[in-house]
């Protein structure tokens, strides 16, 4: 009898807890608008399916809008300015400053328990401009050095280079043995390509992009060393003489056609490299003073215009929950896990890299005028590659320009 009574009590307790939870998560009649970028072929359908349980549980509806990359920032700008923006947004670091500065994004710290924070692997990455504004969501996709192992073998080598000297000697060896370009870079694209062509070398030289006060290249000598190294790649004929008219897609295409031996691309390019039949290997990055490369740190943000903050936060938690993220990484976009206990579903080739090389992965800073500075830097470095500016002039001109903006 005692056993029956205790079971009854436990059952009643469970029912009561469920009822409490249900009432706490009752957002009947609320529609939460979520804007995201296209990662797969049909992101909207994926999220509608994955969030159906959450919608049934909470009574809320989700309005998912997938915005093309080409017009991503424009859509946010016009949407937020006209009051027709999302409740929950997906944003990358380069676009955050103005929204945070204008109060369009709210801090989220208070809505997350210590347990949730501890389980979120990259929680600390979400602290920018002094507060926790971001819920890291797409963290990974570092720019790594891919190597065509067949061309490498033809050159009598068997391992990807790990230092600048090795990068140069390997590129030259490939060129000598195969007649093909050993290593190439895209200097004919747009400033987003700095993630592949300049920032990794800046970090590898031990430099920083900005200091705490927002000053550009606080370790100028390191920045100069990186720029001089890149310039030497052009003058020594290591990279193609046509690099100033090649963009990222041209470099990727050349690599997949087996026309170049090494190139820096994102880990998400691995599948296409394999599809193209390339026998590829990689090094996370080369090392000079330090190791380093760019890594994405894209996040979910809570917009201050959210009509129901609790519902929006609940949606953010649901999207970043282990089941949804595992499905996302498996069906839509291969990335490493963002929570403790989540399965690793990115390309198996990179699993150990995320543990062993993580210290060299750098996200871009959230600072004022960063897009303008990037545009000026890319333009000046292009001029350097065309012999119009010296490496020092390219950097100094950019620093002066950045200073004139503040």
């Amino acid at each position: 009898m005692k056993k029956f009574v205790s079971m009854l009590l436990v059952a009643m307790l469970c029912v009561a807890m469920c009822a409490t939870l249900a009432s706490a998560e009752d957002f009947s009649g609320v529609t939460v608008t979520y804007w995201t970028a296209p990662f797969g072929e049909n992101d909207a359908a994926f999220f509608e399916e994955q969030l159906s349980d959450w919608m049934a549980r909470t009574g809320a509806q989700v309005n998912i809008e997938v915005i093309p990359w080409d017009s991503y920032e424009e859509k946010y700008m016009t949407g937020v300015a006209s009051g027709t923006g999302p409740d929950v947004g997906y944003m990358y670091n380069e676009m955050l400053f103005n929204y945070i500065d204008s109060g369009a994004i709210l801090p989220i710290d208070e809505y997350f328990t210590d347990e949730v924070k501890a389980a979120a692997i990259y929680w600390e990455n979400g602290k920018v401009l002094g507060q926790q504004y971001l819920l890291p969501y797409v963290v990974g996709n570092p720019r790594i050095l891919y190597v065509n192992m067949d061309l490498l073998a033809e050159a009598g080598l068997d391992a990807a280079p790990t230092t600048w000297d090795e990068l140069v000697s390997t590129a030259k060896a490939i060129k000598e043995a195969t007649g093909k370009t050993g290593f190439d870079q895209q200097w004919g694209g747009y400033f987003g390509d700095l993630n592949e062509v300049f920032f990794p070398y800046l970090w590898q030289a031990g430099g920083r992009l900005v200091d705490d006060e927002g000053n550009l290249f606080p370790d100028f000598d390191a920045a100069l060393k990186a720029a001089e190294f890149l310039y030497s790649l052009k003058t020594e004929g290591v990279i193609s003489e046509y690099c100033t008219s090649r963009d990222g897609s041209a470099i990727a295409e050349d690599f997949r056609n087996g026309d170049i031996g090494m190139a820096i691309m994102s880990t998400s390019a691995a599948a296409k490299n394999t599809e193209a039949g390339i026998n590829w290997g990689f090094a996370p990055y080369t090392t000079e003073t330090a190791g380093g490369t760019f890594v994405a740190n894209d996040s979910l943000v809570l917009m201050s215009s959210a009509k129901n903050v609790e519902a929006a936060i609940s949606l953010m938690k649901e999207i970043t929950s282990i089941p949804v993220m595992e499905a996302f990484h498996e069906q839509v976009y291969q990335m490493p896990p963002i929570s403790e206990g989540e399965k690793y579903l990115d390309n198996p080739a990179f699993e150990t890299m995320y543990e062993e090389a993580a210290s060299g992965f750098h996200a871009l800073p959230v600072v004022a005028n960063f897009s303008q500075i990037e545009a000026a830097l890319y333009s000046n470095l292009q001029s350097m590659m065309m012999d119009d500016l010296t490496p020092e002039e390219a950097l100094r001109t950019t620093i002066d320009y950045a200073a004139s903006l503040s």
């Binding site: 920032e73 424009e74 700008m77 016009t78 937020v80 300015a81 103005n98 929204y99 500065d101 204008s102 369009a104 200097w187 004919g188 694209g189 747009y190 193609s240 003489e241 046509y242 690099c243 100033t244 008219s245 090649r246 041209a250 005028n369 897009s371 303008q372 545009a375 000026a376 890319y378 333009s379 000046n380 292009q382 001029s383 590659m385 065309m386 119009d388 001109t397 320009y401 004139s404």
Partner: protein, 289 residues
């Protein structure tokens, strides 16, 4: 109310709808842009008045300086070539090929006009590709070394100009052709009787009679060229260096990539003033009649 006043009132009433449209869609945006050009405005926060600071910054900005220079080069390259080329082709078709072949050529030359600029830009990027482009393959047949068309300062803007001319010629060709068809045949018959050659007829009859059409074509060409954006966006993104930055590309960058709407309005107004000035200079030469 007198009859004259009534007449005036009716006049105003008839003009009012068009005037209202002009006011709302032309005058108000210009006035509003001028106001915003005097502010620090990023769309997300209310504008704050900064006086003429944006104008001072614009004239010091290396991107704006480069875009002014490039835009002028772009105008000076594309407008004369596309005007002369379309006039010559129109004259040849009108004089020699007023048949199905002429119609076919006109139709073909209009295809680029209705094609998207991004498509045309992509096509020319492929044609002028340094390593695999058709143009470099063709010139290599006559022993010329491959050119890095879109990757060096001296040729990047020129390549964009070539793509623009290719896209625009068909449009102006149709206008010139219509203009030539309007020239009375009796002029040519009289010239024939006087023993004028075809070339003399072209320079002494066709060209003078086409003056109003030429004025229209040059005006449109100048305005379009000052607004160059889409081809640059598709082909070079302003590079390499700043060699293909145009004014509208700079405006776009300032407004939508850098969130500097006030600054973008400043550059836009400067562009507006430039177009006005150039248009008035052009009137002195072509539009006196």
């Amino acid at each position: 109310m007198s009859a004259k006043q009534k007449n005036n009132l009716w006049g105003w009433l008839f003009v009012l709808p068009s005037f209202a449209v002009l006011l709302v869609f032309i005058a108000f945006p210009i006035v509003r842009s001028f106001y915003l050009s005097l502010t620090d405005y990023n769309v997300l926060k209310p504008p704050s008045f900064v006086g003429f600071k944006n104008y001072v910054s614009a004239f010091k900005d290396p991107f704006v300086q480069a875009s002014f220079r490039n835009t002028f080069q772009y105008v000076l390259t594309t407008v004369p070539i596309q005007t002369i080329l379309s006039m010559i082709v129109a004259a040849i078709i009108a004089m020699r090929f007023q048949n199905r072949y002429g119609r076919f050529v006109k139709g073909c030359m209009f295809i680029p006009v209705i094609s998207s600029s991004v498509l045309v830009g992509t096509l020319f990027t492929l044609l002028f590709d340094s390593t695999k482009g058709v143009v470099n393959s063709a010139i290599s047949l006559v022993g010329i070394a491959p050119v890095n068309w879109l990757g060096q300062k001296s040729t990047a803007l020129l390549t964009v100009c070539i793509a623009t001319i290719w896209k625009n010629v068909g449009y102006f060709l149709v206008i010139f052709y219509a203009g030539i068809m309007d020239i009375p045949m009796s002029y040519y018959e009289a010239a024939e009787v006087d023993g004028a050659s075809k070339l003399q007829q072209f320079f002494s009859i066709t060209l003078p009679c086409l003056k109003p059409i030429t004025y229209l074509v040059v005006t449109l060409g100048i305005i379009w060229s000052f607004q160059a954006f889409d081809m640059v966006y598709a082909m070079t993104q302003g590079g390499p260096g700043k060699s293909t930055y145009t004014m509208v590309y700079t405006i776009y960058n300032a407004a939508f990539r850098e969130y500097r709407m006030g600054y973008a309005c400043t550059v836009a107004l400067v562009l507006f003033v430039f177009i006005l000035v150039v248009n008035n200079i052009q009137k002195l030469f072509l539009g006196r009649e």
